[in-house]
């Protein structure tokens, strides 16, 4: 097993810079998730590490070895593709074994390794089936088995769950986490789904337009987003962002309401507060904002109240399902948790 290091890695396609001088250290045995909106370059980074794309400049190290110009097969990595990419004309066994056989590994060793990996993924009974006779989840397991059987130093996953339905996605997510524990391997995982990133990652790297927006543990990105982009990307429903004027330790909302904030700086800013950090309160309390309910969404375990302040500024509030919920059109008072307020300056950088 081995760590991965990216040194000032840049990738240009024609004139457009897709990856902009990225530096990153991925520890041995870490499960690192690249997350970001489509077009942020997350898949490109994975393909650069895999060797399917050549870097424009910069160096890639795997296990302390410079692999920048090595072909994919000699980097000690294996990859699981979004579309599974199984060989359609070979059965599951052959799919898993083919790479090993072609690299000249002895027949008996191949068989042992294939069967062990198949057991690990509980596909032992499906080995004689062709990919078209397998369900999506089973195909993905075969694809993962094919990646594991090569015993790589680093696993690369390119949105492996996005072709699965919701129930299967949750289950396979758990399985990948279990596999990571079992194999203690370095895994690099790409997804556009922040929930997948949050649940799986040891560390999340949030990408935006080819740059690292923020890297850190899931809770860190959730609790202390470094930028407004990070704040809005992580968490569902999205963090509420309200443009404010900061003066003397108070943020003045467009509605005229004032909220105390722990900063001495002033000027225009964006105030962020997550729906789960806003509580219903009684009117007249300090820091209470009066609002009107626009719509209530039922999520089962909680409800999302969409409300508007006096001037129409929209706020989403997560409300526990077992407490009485206001109806549409009702006047309510909202109290954002003062310890969970985020302030971003006009450049989108965190002030508080």
């Amino acid at each position: 097993m081995a760590g991965v290091r990216l040194d000032n890695v840049t990738k240009r396609f024609g004139g457009t810079e897709v990856i902009r001088s990225i530096d990153l250290d991925i520890a041995d045995g870490e499960l690192l998730v690249f997350v970001g909106p489509s077009g942020c370059g997350k898949s490109t980074i994975l393909r650069l590490i895999a060797g399917l794309e050549e870097v424009t400049s910069g160096t890639i190290w795997i296990g302390g070895k410079d692999v920048t110009h090595l072909p994919p097969a000699r980097r000690g990595v294996s990859m699981v593709f979004q579309s599974y990419a199984l060989y359609p004309h070979m059965d599951a066994y052959k799919n898993i074994a083919f790479g090993l056989q072609m690299s000249g590994t002895g027949g008996e060793t191949v068989d042992q390794r294939v069967r062990r990996v198949a057991d690990m993924l509980q596909i032992g009974g499906l080995l004689h089936r062709k990919p078209r006779e397998l369900s999506g989840g089973q195909r993905q397991r075969v694809a993962i088995a094919r990646a594991i059987v090569r015993e790589p130093q680093v696993f690369l996953f390119d949105e492996p769950l996005s072709n699965l339905d919701a129930a299967l996605r949750a289950q396979t997510r758990l399985e990948i986490a279990r596999l990571h524990d079992e194999l203690k391997a370095t895994m690099i995982y790409v997804t556009h789904d922040q929930l997948e990133a949050m649940t799986l990652a040891d560390r999340i790297v949030l990408l935006n337009a080819g740059r690292i927006e923020q890297a850190g543990q899931p809770t860190e990105l959730y609790r202390r987003p470094a930028t407004r982009f990070a704040a809005e990307f992580i968490g569902s429903p999205k963090m509420n962002i309200v443009p404010v004027q900061v003066e003397a330790g108070e943020a003045i909302l467009p509605s005229g309401d004032r909220l105390q904030v722990a900063t001495q700086r002033g000027g225009p800013a964006d105030l962020g507060v997550r729906p789960e950090n806003i509580a219903l309160t009684r009117a007249g309390e300090p820091n209470a904002l009066s609002a009107r309910v626009l719509h209530v969404e039922e999520l089962g375990e909680s409800r999302i109240i969409h409300a508007a302040l006096r001037n129409g500024t929209a706020l989403a509030v997560r409300h526990p399902a077992d407490s009485p919920t206001p109806r549409k059109g009702e006047e309510i008072a909202l109290r954002p948790d003062p310890d969970r307020l985020h302030l971003f300056n006009r450049d989108g950088l965190r002030m508080l």
Partner: protein, 275 residues
């Protein structure tokens, strides 16, 4: 009522088409069973079954040798064309390089010249290579018209194969040769059967090159051999023999098409619809 009428109309159209397509073959079969002066009477139904033409063609010229030549030439052309086209298709369909489009259209352009236009130049080439009156010359010259379409069809198919499969193979450490022969070739089976069959038919039926590049009876392929079947005198054209020979050489083609029929249809339509 309308459905009955349109059904009947469709049936009539199908019958008309079948008659139009099959009548020449039917008439050839009919004629091949006749002999003597009967040959020149127009009949639409068999009046007698006289197999003497079928016996005579084997005796009066090296017809077996001619058939063997045709089989050899057509088979070699198919094998060589497919091997070259498959590897070319990998380069043209999967490798990005400067001038790829230009090359592709040049290959297509080759097939636009009429055979007569290249005949004299090709004759020189074949003479220089020492392939005159040799089956090798025919194999070489036939690839002029088989390669453009085999390359084009296989390139189109190759391009439609999912990129991820190739990338997965690369990650598996497979060499381009293994990828082409062990991963892509099985996936392109139907396309290869279809193009191979078309190449076989084209090579089997080719006349002009075969006539020009061979001299002796022993090197001729069947179309030329049949055309040069002569009667007892120069005033006699032995239609019975010619028709019998034609029927004999058509049968293998029909058998081939029937044998590969299912895969042929799959090959001609595959790629049109996903899945």
């Amino acid at each position: 009522m309308r459905r009955v009428l349109s059904g009947a109309g469709l049936a009539i159209a199908c019958i008309a088409l079948a008659v139009f397509l099959l009548f020449p073959l039917y008439y050839a079969v009919l004629t091949s069973f006749k002999s003597g002066s009967e040959l020149f009477r127009v009949d639409y139904w068999p009046t007698e079954i006289d197999l003497s033409s079928y016996v005579r063609i084997w005796q009066e010229q090296p017809f077996a040798r001619n058939i063997l030549n045709s089989v050899l030439v057509a088979t070699s052309v198919v094998i060589l064309s497919l091997a070259l086209a498959l590897t070319a298709a990998f380069a043209l369909g999967r490798v990005r390089f400067r001038g790829r489009k230009f090359l592709l259209y040049t290959i297509l352009g080759v097939s636009m010249f009429p055979q007569v236009a290249v005949l004299s130049g090709l004759f020189e080439v074949i003479r220089v290579l020492g392939l005159y009156n040799n089956l090798g010359g025919l194999i070489l010259s036939y690839m002029i018209f088989t390669l453009p379409f085999t390359v084009w069809v296989l390139t189109t198919f190759m391009r439609d194969l999912p990129v991820e499969i190739e990338e997965a193979a690369i990650m598996d450490g497979l060499s381009p040769f293994v990828i082409v022969t062990r991963v892509f070739m099985p996936l392109m089976g139907p396309a290869m059967v279809a193009t191979g069959l078309l190449a076989f038919i084209a090579a089997w039926n080719e006349f002009l090159f075969a006539l020009t590049f061979t001299l002796s009876n022993e090197q001729r392929t069947v179309p030329v051999a049949i055309a040069l079947i002569t009667g007892a005198s120069e005033y006699e054209l032995p239609w019975g023999n010619i028709m019998a020979a034609s029927v004999i050489v058509t049968v293998p083609l029909i058998a081939l098409v029937l044998a590969f029929q299912r895969r042929l249809v799959a090959g001609l339509t595959a790629g049109a619809v996903k899945g």
